[in-house]
Symmetry: C2
Subunit: 460 residues, 2 copies
Amino acid sequence: MLGNKNRMLLHSLKTFVTRGVRGKLQKVIQKAHPADLGLTLGHLPPAMALAVLEAIEEPAKKAQVLSEADPELAAELIVQLAPEEIAALLSEMYSDDSAQILENIDDELREQIIRQMRQAESEEVQERFDYLDETAGRIMVPDFLALSPETTVAEAITALREGADVELVYYIYVVNEAGKLDGVVSLRRLLLVDPSTPLLAVMVPDVITVRVDEDQEEVANRVERYNLVAIPVVDDVGKMLGVITVDDVIDIIKEEATEDILRLAGTGEEDPLLSGSVLRSFRARWPWLLASCFGGMFAFLATHWFEDLLSRVVLLAGLIPVVMGMGGNVGTQTSTLVVRGLAIRRLDASQLLRVMFRELQVGGLLGLAYAGLVGVLVVAFEATAGLGNLGTGVLRLATVAGLGILSSMLVATGIGTAIPLLLDRMKLDPAVATGPIVTVSIDVCAVLSYFGIARLLLSF
Amino acid sequence: MLGNKNRMLLHSLKTFVTRGVRGKLQKVIQKAHPADLGLTLGHLPPAMALAVLEAIEEPAKKAQVLSEADPELAAELIVQLAPEEIAALLSEMYSDDSAQILENIDDELREQIIRQMRQAESEEVQERFDYLDETAGRIMVPDFLALSPETTVAEAITALREGADVELVYYIYVVNEAGKLDGVVSLRRLLLVDPSTPLLAVMVPDVITVRVDEDQEEVANRVERYNLVAIPVVDDVGKMLGVITVDDVIDIIKEEATEDILRLAGTGEEDPLLSGSVLRSFRARWPWLLASCFGGMFAFLATHWFEDLLSRVVLLAGLIPVVMGMGGNVGTQTSTLVVRGLAIRRLDASQLLRVMFRELQVGGLLGLAYAGLVGVLVVAFEATAGLGNLGTGVLRLATVAGLGILSSMLVATGIGTAIPLLLDRMKLDPAVATGPIVTVSIDVCAVLSYFGIARLLLSF
């Protein structure tokens, strides 16, 4: 959804591209903020987006707009330009932005572009691909202001004036001759002390850092916990390699939340929504559905095992969906709460028993409520529509339905708590495996307990 | 999950609290970062957490630790202190942090504490409660550095030196006599210009702001889009009221993601995981389950309508769960993708047809694959176990199952795309209502199409 301002921008862009009035189009582009243009590009049909991009004359602004657009979209648009122009545009960007776009370009073309980029830029981007995806190394920018401890505050300010290329500066880093990070000075502090003071005297020595091979989620946690606006990245021996700023941390947090949401729904984090091939979506989604298929087929097998009972009381089969469905849904509620609780660190595996005890109470209460409701509905259907060939008393059928639902919901909350907490204790990512395991286990338990109860109450 | 450092901290705290060695406990506390202590509190049993809190002698540090802890936990701990001490501690905090803790305290005690807080502090906190929950007004801090346009850079630096109480300063705001925000100057810029320059000459005039009544989600979007570290909050006429810093924006983003995840799972955003009453969880969760209950009971009614058919082919009923389950799961995958796409603004309602076309292809492909699998499984069960009283040919039953699954999965992807996009177009929050509506619609369509196909293929 776009705000009012951007809806107007979108409208102007569409109008002027359609009419082909380049002059007016360029005037609109000139007045718009690159972030707004980048956002709006995603709401234009691809051909129009390309036309807007081509109407941006200044290469620096074109690069900024692409940096602000969705990286997949930026890659889609940029590949339609000549490799030299792509290389020139990417060289204009901060290297974290250009790397994100390059990630979405085919290997072959990517190599070609990197070869075309200026030597220094190209090495910087190339090095980034030496680090694993989703690590600090992949997202850091290697441009930062690092000075020796003997530098005076006045000299630091001069250095700051010259370092125009450095992304969002809030701190100056103090490193020794070997490049080891020894301290940090905030800009505010620089303003408040005597210009002749050496940095050594004003720096904060215990710097909170991340190691270059640490996971991006850990980066986000640390920036969040200590309320930082930038965090330095170091290697094993403490040598400073780069810096990650809070705007990138925000992107990480949103990305990780999206991954968790999609994993919980069983679509895999890879499913492309609009772009990308249908086959890729198919591959991302089928594994999770397999679990649900096995759960369903288990119910089929069970109807075979209990065919005697069913042929006497046909409507018993009609209640399987509600018994399985209620268990499955309350189990998903529970496991989602637990998985999210683990992700935002409000829970850990040591609390298994405490959480399970509470969830069983909630499950029991919900189970009682829905057992009652379904029991009443069964009786009401019989009273109004007449359920016909019941083969047994309606009250007995209602009791079986109610007890089936209660037991399936109780079991479901237990399973929904236990599985993610156990996966977490086994150092597996609960967001990935919880869904399928919980689904199959609940389906199997719900069906078995339902038929068990039915046999007990209906077979005499 | 705690990192190594904090696991060690947790261990020391536990040991020294258990042994009652106050001296050692205080030494550990002195050396630890308030953020780490705040985090660790959540992993201690309540009685121990309180003991740790009481061992912190310096009130300023005690306040910091509580600010960094989970606000619900902080409220739980703090209410065990005397009202005067609570008031004193809350007065030490930034007012956004104290307000978060106060939100979790009973109305009556809250009033009492607010009365005890120092006049100025208390007004600040009280005013915050005049703004609606989840708006900019509720989260802004009213302390910021605002100077007149004639102020020189040198004077601004002096003001900065004196404004020790202002949270995380990165910008100086320029306001006119009426308090209207006219421009902004970054600290970096202050360092680089001549000290005698007036702020008017160095400020950036077009400031990106939020209105005090705007939703916190909008605040987060704007900070994210323009890569800000702080955003000023203004009223209708542009008067500056406060500032929201990026660390609070990170909290908002995580909170909103959690809300979306919990809403999608149908637990409501209100479900307390560990604390809070079981009844509150019950109330948060039952509405969503009602949808699933109605879907399941519809299947029951359908078995009644088609009882003739079922009494001839009992195993037909055994396949209802797999047909409904596959539809429900693929529909949830699709609707989750769409809801998240809307939340992170990669999608909007205008793309309905394009997204649906793509989703139908994915649903069709998955439907074909699972139709084949289930068909083969039915035949295989017959071949190995012997399905007994089939009442019809096994191939016909397999065909009905396969076609039922294909049609239910196709319909499910269509519904899963359409509902959230239509809700969004109707200006309703898709995360709230999508789950129940999608569930019921898919259940009904899946059951009807399955029995329709069965009647067509099996009734002659």
